[in-house]
């Protein structure tokens, strides 16, 4: 399975990449929205993990673009929002997000959400060293 992380904080990208790799997933990452769109179009992932607060225009712009592209319309999107930002959740939902995880998140939660969105069976896909 291929997961793409769109997040402007390199240390979060690094930790999530580590966690996702441990699950046996291929990881791609983008630190800004424009790069994200470019990579999404060239190599569509199975799940997109998308932070709301990314440059240059916010994760919502990326989400809008994803939903307007025929090839990406069905791509499962997990949105990372800040805790308590209800408005962000409403906006993401309206724009077609499939799930949310609020910061600060636990690795276990985020992995579980990605599995569910990808339709991966947790126990079957569980590689050694998982459960982070």
């Amino acid at each position: 399975m291929r997961v793409m992380i769109v997040e402007d904080e390199p240390n979060i990208v690094e930790s999530l990449s580590f966690v996702f790799s441990r699950e046996g997933w291929q990881v791609a990452a983008a630190l800004d929205g424009d790069t994200a769109i470019e990579r999404l179009l060239s190599e569509p992932p199975d799940v997109l993990v998308l932070d709301v607060m990314i440059p240059p225009h916010s994760g919502f712009e990326v989400l809008k673009r994803v939903r307007s592209e025929a090839s990406l319309k069905a791509l499962p999107v997990l949105v990372l929002t800040a805790k308590g930002q209800e408005q962000d959740r409403h906006t993401a939902l309206r724009l077609g997000a499939d799930a949310f995880v609020t910061k600060p998140f636990s690795n276990r939660d985020i992995v579980q959400h990605v599995r569910e969105l990808a339709g991966v069976n947790g126990s079957a896909a569980e590689p050694p060293g998982s459960g982070v």
Binding site: N11, F18, M53, N107, G131
Partner: protein
């Protein structure tokens, strides 16, 4: 309007000097039964009759009038109108009794309520900041991001056993970096709240200054005298006056004065007509500021620098001003008072006001001052033995925020907005720069002349909204014929008047189409309540 304490005071004083009702009634030429009604607060009195009684009882009018107590009653009624007390079903008629018997407790309640409102406002201001401040939004996002990274890495380090040494070192480095960023973000947040705290507007100092001015009847003889001395140096015509004030600032106080030409004024976003820097003694005058505002500002600065001792003396003697912020506000108010007194000298201004029948525009032109300056000065004409008409003063912005008030004993002016929208002070916003006069009748039957005018403060730059304020003078309808504003009004008792109230919660007019809130007072026996509370 019934005043709860006059009757009691008359009766106490009459007994104190050993007069019978019959004797006193005979001396002032009224029936014994009428005097009896007065003493039991069943009839309200004022004017000539009250003066006669005061003379016969050999006491000052202010003793019988009980202005302080009535102010307490009025303030207490406003406390009572707070929805906070809805469930307690407090009897509004008992405020007069409470003030009469326990004035200290009444004051304590009012003080507590004001402190409560102050804290509520501060809380709302902080809540607004939390919700809307871009710095906060950004700081919280940064903190959550740092915490997310720390949490994620920590989870890896504690739950994954086979992380190689190099990767472990990398994760430790990330933890260290993110912790440092988190500390920095937290410190930024802490600094922000320190500043937010000092910037939170507190209403308490304003309330204290309000009370301080009321206690002094908005008349300060020491400042009148000081302003009189200043005036002798200033000459007569406005232009000469301004030049001489600037000379005094330069010569007496060593200020370096520069003028900003209109084309350079774009740098000075403030609406203030002058800028004074005490540390380098520089004064910058904005030439394009309205002349009256600039002259007044110069006079206020001169008063500030010339009469600091007098102002400090008055402030130190006051027990009402308890905080540094209140004392600072009071100093500014007294400096403005002094400026008004210098530009509009008491005796001449009073004479002109009487001659002009309190025509604000005539006085404004004669003294080259603004509408607000004239109205404010009219309210300060309270020198015993040489008084002008007793006026109340109210200044409001279009949102109903009362920014200045001076009530009359029987015309309470709410402190916290929510005043009756039918008052001329609000109507004036519909016709800026036009005088709106109104004969207003309260549910008690008391009638007042309201004269209001919405004025633009300063000059708004292109594209900026005008800063409108409505200024209102009010006096008892009894005196309306002494003003030009009464000329077009039918002042006879039977004439129709605009039916107004104090605030919805204190107004008994059930059928008012402007009602926004339910009244807390359904019925009340006449004479028991405080100002503005008597039943129709």
């Amino acid at each position: 309007m019934a005043t709860p304490l006059i009757g009691l005071k008359i009766r106490d004083r009459r007994k104190e000097i050993g007069l019978t009702q019959t004797e006193l009634a005979g001396r002032i030429g009224i029936s014994v039964s009428y005097l009896n009604l007065i003493e039991h607060n069943k009839r309200s009195i004022g004017g000539r009759l009250l003066q006669q009684i005061a003379e016969e009882l050999d006491v000052g009018l202010e003793v019988l009038d009980g202005a302080t107590e009535r102010r307490l009653v009025s303030d207490l009624n406003e406390v009572l109108a707070d929805p906070l007390f809805d469930r307690l079903r407090l009897d509004p008629g008992s405020t007069g009794d409470l003030v009469g018997r326990h004035p200290g407790w009444a004051q304590a309640l009012i003080t507590l309520h004001r402190a409560f409102l102050d804290r509520s406002q501060a809380m709302h201001a902080l809540a607004d900041r939390l919700n809307q401040d871009p710095f906060l939004g950004d700081a919280i996002h940064r903190i959550l991001t740092n915490v997310s990274a720390i949490r994620s890495i920590s989870e890896i380090l504690t739950s994954v056993e086979d992380v190689d040494a190099e990767q472990q070192h990398r994760f430790h480095t990330i933890l260290s970096e993110e912790s440092a960023r988190l500390s920095s973000a937290a410190q930024g947040l802490s600094t922000f709240f320190d500043k937010a705290h000092t910037a939170t507007r507190s209403t308490t100092p304003a309330e204290e200054v309000d009370d301080f001015v009321l206690e002094n009847g908005n008349h300060f003889p020491i400042l009148e005298e000081a302003a009189g001395r200043l005036r002798l140096r200033l000459g007569e015509t406005p232009r000469v006056m301004e030049e001489r004030m600037l000379e005094a600032l330069a010569e007496d106080h060593g200020l370096r004065i520069t003028r900003a030409a209109p084309e350079n004024e774009a740098h000075y976003a403030s609406r203030a007509p002058l800028r004074y820097s005490p540390h380098n003694k520089r004064l910058l005058l904005l030439d394009s500021a309205p002349a009256a505002s600039r002259r007044f500002a110069v006079a206020r600065l001169l008063a500030r620098l010339s009469f600091a001792g007098e102002v400090e003396g008055i402030i130190s003697a006051s027990a009402t001003l308890t905080t540094p912020a209140a004392r600072e506000r009071a100093a500014i108010a007294l400096q403005s008072y002094c400026a008004g007194a210098a530009l509009m000298p008491y005796d001449r201004f009073l004479e002109d006001a009487v001659k002009a029948r309190y025509d604000i525009d005539l006085l404004r032109r004669a003294y080259s001052t603004s509408v607000e300056q004239v109205c404010h000065r009219l309210v300060t004409l309270r020198r015993p033995g040489s008084e002008g008409l007793p006026f109340a003063f109210l200044r409001s912005d279009p949102a109903g925020y009362v920014t200045k008030r001076f009530p009359l004993p029987n015309l309470p002016l709410p402190r916290y907005g929510g005043t009756c929208p039918l008052w001329a002070v609000y109507r004036a916003f519909q016709m800026p720069e036009t005088v709106v006069s109104q004969l207003a009748e309260f549910p008690s039957g008391d009638r007042f002349l309201f004269v209001a005018r919405a004025v633009a403060k300063g000059d708004a730059a292109y594209g900026q909204p005008r800063h409108l304020l409505s200024i209102m003078l009010a006096c008892e309808a009894l005196y309306a014929d002494q003003t030009v504003y009464g000329d077009r009004l039918d002042l006879s008792a039977a004439a129709p008047a605009d039916r107004v109230g104090a605030t919805c919660r204190l107004c008994a007019r059930d059928d008012c189409p402007q009602r926004q809130e339910d009244v807390i007072i359904k019925s009340q026996s006449a004479g028991r309540g405080g100002p503005g509370l008597a039943a129709e």
